[in-house]
Symmetry: none
Subunit: 318 residues, 2 copies
């Protein structure tokens, strides 16, 4: 068995692989990943350049390296990390059931067969059970159709609930096992997120559109905001005063805005998708609540008071 192995060559391959997988790599990060000094990173980059790979460099803050596109790369192979990631990802996907889950399982098997024995062995070692909230399955075909429209920047027409919608599809997003399309709703003239499992795309797609900037610039943030509440997308916004230190409240307040009014008192601006939901959520703080507004929130509290009273078997009057 040969002991000596040019760590250098392997590293160069690895570096290519890394550079390929992500857009920008700060030198320090590369150094960290490859477990070499930054100095050597520079040297390696040089070497790759000398071998003909177009590696662009970005200087200054937020700098880094970037592999130019359209390069003919040497046949890269799976390294151990990739094999593990692949297995894990596919097993988790397979666990999600449905058409995609099935396909993921089969895909894993397919990849497995073309792997060198060593990696195959490694793959077989990793066995993961995935526990997930039961989520509606997504039809792979729909996913592809929607993605295609996103890519082609073509207006999408689709059945959704009762009616037909028209929207400019911008991003496909997954969140906790559910799939959404972030799109500009042409009927409502506003950003919307649609559940992909409830969409039935119609063909043909409409004309091309010019993409708009997603509010905030970051899709992930946008979607999170949509769901967690911040002033971006909530339909209901309310203001309350809680008899509890601001710090204690802020801890569990999510994206709400908390402002201290005194040592044991704070003001809070919350967002939610419905008034009762907001009221209920505020009930978790175990503090006296004073509604500043709007009246709908007060009504919601009244409503919940009655409901909870019924649940508890007590009587509520006016």
């Amino acid at each position: 068995m040969i002991v000596g192995m040019p760590k250098t060559s392997a590293r160069l391959l690895a570096m290519l692989s890394l550079l390929q997988a992500r857009r920008d790599w700060p030198g320090a990060l590369l150094a960290d990943r490859l477990e070499i000094s930054p100095r050597t990173v520079r040297r390696d980059v040089d070497r790759l350049r000398e071998l003909g790979y177009p590696i662009a460099t970005i200087k200054g803050p937020d700098g880094g390296y970037r592999l130019g596109a359209g390069t003919e790369l040497p046949p890269l192979l799976f390294d151990d990390e990739q094999a593990v990631a692949l297995t894990v990802a596919l097993q988790v996907a397979a666990g999600s059931g449905g058409g995609i889950g099935d396909a993921a399982g089969r895909a894993l098997n397919t990849v497995r067969q073309v792997m060198p024995t060593r990696l195959r062995h490694r793959i077989d070692t990793v066995r993961v059970t995935s526990v997930a909230r039961p989520a509606p399955e997504v039809d792979g075909a729909v996913l592809v159709e929607v993605s295609t429209a996103v890519r082609r920047q073509e207006v999408l027409r689709f059945d959704y609930g009762e009616g037909v919608r028209r929207a400019e599809p911008h991003h496909v997003v997954t969140r906790y096992g559910r799939w959404y399309l972030v799109a500009w709703d042409l009927d409502k003239d506003d950003w919307r997120t649609f559940r992909i499992d409830r969409m039935t795309p119609r063909t043909p797609t409409g004309p091309r559109f010019t993409p708009r900037a997603v509010p905030g610039g970051d899709v992930a943030a946008f979607v999170t905001a949509r769901f967690q509440g911040s002033d971006t997308g909530w339909q209901c916004r309310g203001e309350v005063i809680l008899d509890k230190p601001a710090a204690r409240v802020a801890e569990f307040a999510g994206d709400a805005i908390v402002e201290a009014l005194g040592p044991d008192r704070c003001r809070m601006l919350v967002g939610s998708w419905s008034w009762p939901a907001m009221a209920a959520t505020l009930g978790r703080f175990e503090a006296e609540i004073e509604v500043v507004g709007p009246p709908e929130l007060r009504d919601a509290f009244a409503q919940l008071a009655h409901r909870f009273a019924r649940t508890a078997g007590v009587i509520v009057g006016r």
Copy 2:
């Protein structure tokens, strides 16, 4: 300008393309072509093999080297569904960041390379953004070590928090982005779930063990139950009946267990850190709530009813 350039690396790359270009290469020819000694050819071949390239060797007269399938041919017989599933799974994994995320991204690239053009296009179409709760990253290496122990049925010793633990590892489970090991804790003589991101396995592993049956027989169920239970997370567990379809409830139920009792009725097992919090959380469902138990939960509803009534400015009596 850097003068030194690892001739070795360049040569390996060159050799790779030579091997790709022609079917068989006698060692002597390679030596000649690359201007190195036959001895070094042999070494280089070894190196490439060590990097994972399947290089076959033909001995005897007319012998030589040949680059095996998997690199030269596109023998990955994915069907469309598999390709989509693969892409989706890897993109989602890639979004999770960290070492595994990177590796997933690279793996996607690698697979992509050996795909027929048509599938490659299909792959390129699917672009997914994954939004996840910020979860601690798992070290792929640890994951493999733990999985290996599971597979080999070897007692695992690992640092966990302050001390060292010994356990019989049974299953690796992922749940909402977090990774757990379900194991029989040899010190506590009981089943435990350990957060894999907090584990540091020690080598060597201990003796082999005979697997026990996971309580309930189903790991997924066991883990889910664990999280309802007191020892791992929630201190309060309650049971209620909601006047709402199970499907609609499950959608927002987080990790609670929902069971349909009829078209518009379901039973729900919930966990929370306090009774009022549980009651409040249940209030978000906009459905009538009937407490099955325990009494503390009923009391919490009463308490909240009063509080909400005060907030809303209505009166509650018994």
